[in-house]
């Protein structure tokens, strides 16, 4: 029982990181129709920026500043590299973001060096009691923060004028433009939100293990998450993120007992296996919109 609760909490914590990252992917996809492979680099640069900022300012302020800086970086990428490509095939634009990802990561890696850098989160690895079980605080904090951020964003999309504009652009870019929505600003804003979310996710990931050059690989787990949830579903991204996190955690905890022949690292590929199985049944993910295709 203790093990199960710990495992679930860890899964929800990791899952909320995936959910944050996936949320960023989906926001960009909804506005531009593109999967941004630059998210891993944005996440890494956010986490690294925090490790430098915490040496001078308070941790929370550092996260906010880093999120703002990475949001600016994301807007810069969108303006310089992606804006000229509007109207080109989405696959080509996605591959461009892959190139951007490589460039940013090389630059950021130079600031990481060979050591592991710490983000210096105040809660660190300390634990607290939940229904009589010791669980790590960071997983609870990750989950709660993610839920709060997601709630704020949903409220933003639902009730604010700009949120309405973003929904309009997601529905149809040209019609939105004709109604006076600044589509370019919506693109920039969606990249900024995705960049800020990636920073928060990066900080969460590195509270446990620190920041090293391999951190970006975790961001790739958001890819099966967005496919599982459906590329254009924000709610799907959150739910699929949590599901993948919990499944991964369960497999990591119990996989060795149930099927030892699978090996210790089987949990690393479970997100992809879950994704493939679900896609065979539902080709547009759990909550994705079925594409209507005409000749």
């Amino acid at each position: 029982m203790t093990e199960l609760v710990q495992c679930l909490v860890r899964g929800l914590g990791d899952g909320s990181v995936y959910a944050l990252l996936a949320f960023g992917f989906v926001i960009i996809f909804k506005s531009m129709g593109v999967i941004s492979f630059a998210q891993p680099a944005l996440m890494l640069s956010g986490a690294v920026l925090v490790t430098y900022l915490v040496t001078t300012v308070n941790f929370y302020l550092a996260v906010v500043l880093a999120a703002a800086a990475v949001a600016l970086l994301a807007v810069g990428v969108e303006r310089t590299v992606l804006r000229p490509m509007i109207g080109k095939p989405v696959f080509v634009i996605s591959i461009i973001t892959l190139g951007v990802d490589i460039v940013i990561r090389v630059v950021v890696n130079a600031y990481i060096g060979l050591d592991v850098r710490q983000v210096g989160a105040p809660w660190g690895l300390s634990t607290s009691r939940l229904v009589g079980v010791e669980v790590q605080q960071r997983h609870l904090i990750m989950f709660v923060t993610t839920m709060v951020l997601v709630a704020i964003l949903f409220a933003f999309f639902r009730y604010s004028r700009m949120g309405l504009a973003m929904r309009a652009v997601a529905f149809d870019q040209e019609v939105a433009l004709a109604q006076g929505v600044s589509v370019g600003f919506v693109f920039a804003l969606s990249w900024a939100i995705a960049g800020a979310l990636a920073t928060v996710a990066g900080v969460f990931v590195s509270t446990g293990a620190g920041v090293d050059q391999q951190l970006w690989i975790i961001a790739l787990k958001a890819l099966p998450v967005i496919i599982l949830g459906g590329l254009d579903s924000l709610g799907g991204a959150v739910i699929a993120g949590l599901v993948i996190g919990v499944v991964e955690s369960l497999v990591a905890t119990y996989g060795a007992d149930v099927a030892p022949w699978l090996g210790g690292e089987f949990s690393l590929v479970t997100p992809y296996l879950v994704m493939m199985v679900v896609l065979l049944v539902r080709p547009y993910g759990l909550f994705g919109t079925r594409e209507v295709i005409r000749i």
Partner: protein, 374 residues
């Protein structure tokens, strides 16, 4: 025949028969140029030092893989980020077939090149045909990410299955190559091992490039193009989508398998970590930089990407702010290489979407009408 040749003199695109129009090398300059390239490629065997020749040989092997990716992504329009997975299957099939039966890892001791080459292609093609049903159900970016998942699953399997792949850090010995009873991956009496293997890979590349060109202009190739341009429209005019998507994936994977089998013969060892996401991205970069849906473009792109490290390693001599050692200040060669790599992908897509092939076409057209610029 002679009269038709005479009438064509000076009018290269006047065709007097259907077979002339359909010929692969339909103009005299094209024939001369291809012959020239082949002669230069052969002459390189003897005039280039073994270090560079090894790179060129690797480039030939990668070019086969790039042609394969171009068949499924360029011609048939099915985006695949999982090419490294099929390359891995080919590499392991060939290595297991030709491996030492008494070694640390699996091996059957069948070292004849044609046998393990075809087996490697066959196994990969089988895997490709098994994955193809996903492509029938999924479209666009969904398919790209699912094929990306294949790379991760493949890496996991090859890391865990140590009897096949050896310990994850050390890997296993690469395929052993014998041709008609003689080992060609050891120094021969007149040629070094790198020279022999370069010749082998060059010949195989020429064969596979020719096959791909022929496939592209056949009924199958036209079906691929129809699927790429609009799959629903293709289905309406009677193209069997399921069948041709399976064929595209199988053929592409066959090429990937052959490339994988050849890729590590020169370095003699490989690990499961070789077949990572970066390899898939490199193949994508090759076809994008070379030219989508062109065979010669795939070869140019593959050679370009393979020679890129060599080019950047020459940079410190020219640009003093780039340092050669990893610990010193400034930017290192490795960093420059990775950045160039990213910038090249972005740059080519932004400014020259048709790739090196497009640049070549522009140069050709310029001289075709010279001295008139229109």
């Amino acid at each position: 025949m002679t009269s038709s040749l005479r009438t064509r003199f000076g009018r290269p695109e006047l065709y007097t028969s259907y077979s002339q129009d359909m010929a692969l090398l339909n103009t005299t300059p094209k024939k001369l140029f291809v012959a020239g390239v082949l002669v230069v490629a052969l002459a390189m065997t003897f005039s280039v030092d073994d270090g560079l020749l090894q790179l060129l040989a690797t480039g030939c092997a990668l070019a086969i893989g790039a042609i394969g990716l171009n068949i499924v992504t360029g011609y048939a329009g099915q985006v695949s980020l999982g090419h490294a997975f099929f390359v891995a299957i080919g590499a392991y099939t060939a290595a297991v077939l030709s491996g030492d039966p008494n070694g640390r890892v699996l091996g059957f001791g069948i070292t004849e090149v044609p046998i393990w080459l075809l087996a490697a292609g066959g196994m990969s093609a089988l895997a490709g045909a098994l994955v193809a049903p996903l492509a029938v159900r999924l479209r666009g970016l969904y398919l790209a990410i699912v094929t990306l998942g294949l790379v991760f699953i493949g890496q996991f399997v090859f890391r865990e299955w140590t009897e096949l792949a050896g310990p994850p850090d050390i890997g296993r010995p690469a395929p052993v190559a014998t041709l008609f009873g003689t080992r060609i991956d050891v120094d021969g009496s007149s040629l070094t091992r790198v020279q022999q293997l370069y010749l082998l890979m060059l010949v195989i590349l020429v064969i596979f490039a020719l096959l791909a060109r022929n496939l592209a202009r056949s009924r199958t190739g036209r079906a691929f193009a129809a699927i790429r341009d609009r799959d629903i429209a293709a289905a309406v005019i009677g193209v069997n989508l399921t069948r041709y998507k399976v064929v595209a994936f199988a053929v592409s994977s066959f090429y990937a398998g052959v490339a994988g089998a050849l890729l590590y013969v020169i370095p003699q060892t490989f690990t499961a970590g070789n077949f990572n996401l970066l390899m898939s991205v490199q193949f994508i970069a090759m076809i994008l930089i070379g030219g989508v849906a062109t065979i010669s473009g795939s070869i140019m792109g593959a050679l370009f990407i393979t020679l890129l490290p060599r080019i950047t390693s020459e940079l410190p001599a020219v640009l003093p702010f780039i340092s050669t050692n990893a610990t010193g200040g400034g930017i290192t060669v490795v960093q420059v290489e990775s950045i160039l790599y990213g910038l090249l992908i972005v740059g080519f897509l932004l400014f020259e979407p048709k790739g090196l092939f497009g640049i070549w076409i522009r140069i050709r057209n310029y001289w075709k009408a010279w001295p008139f610029s229109y």
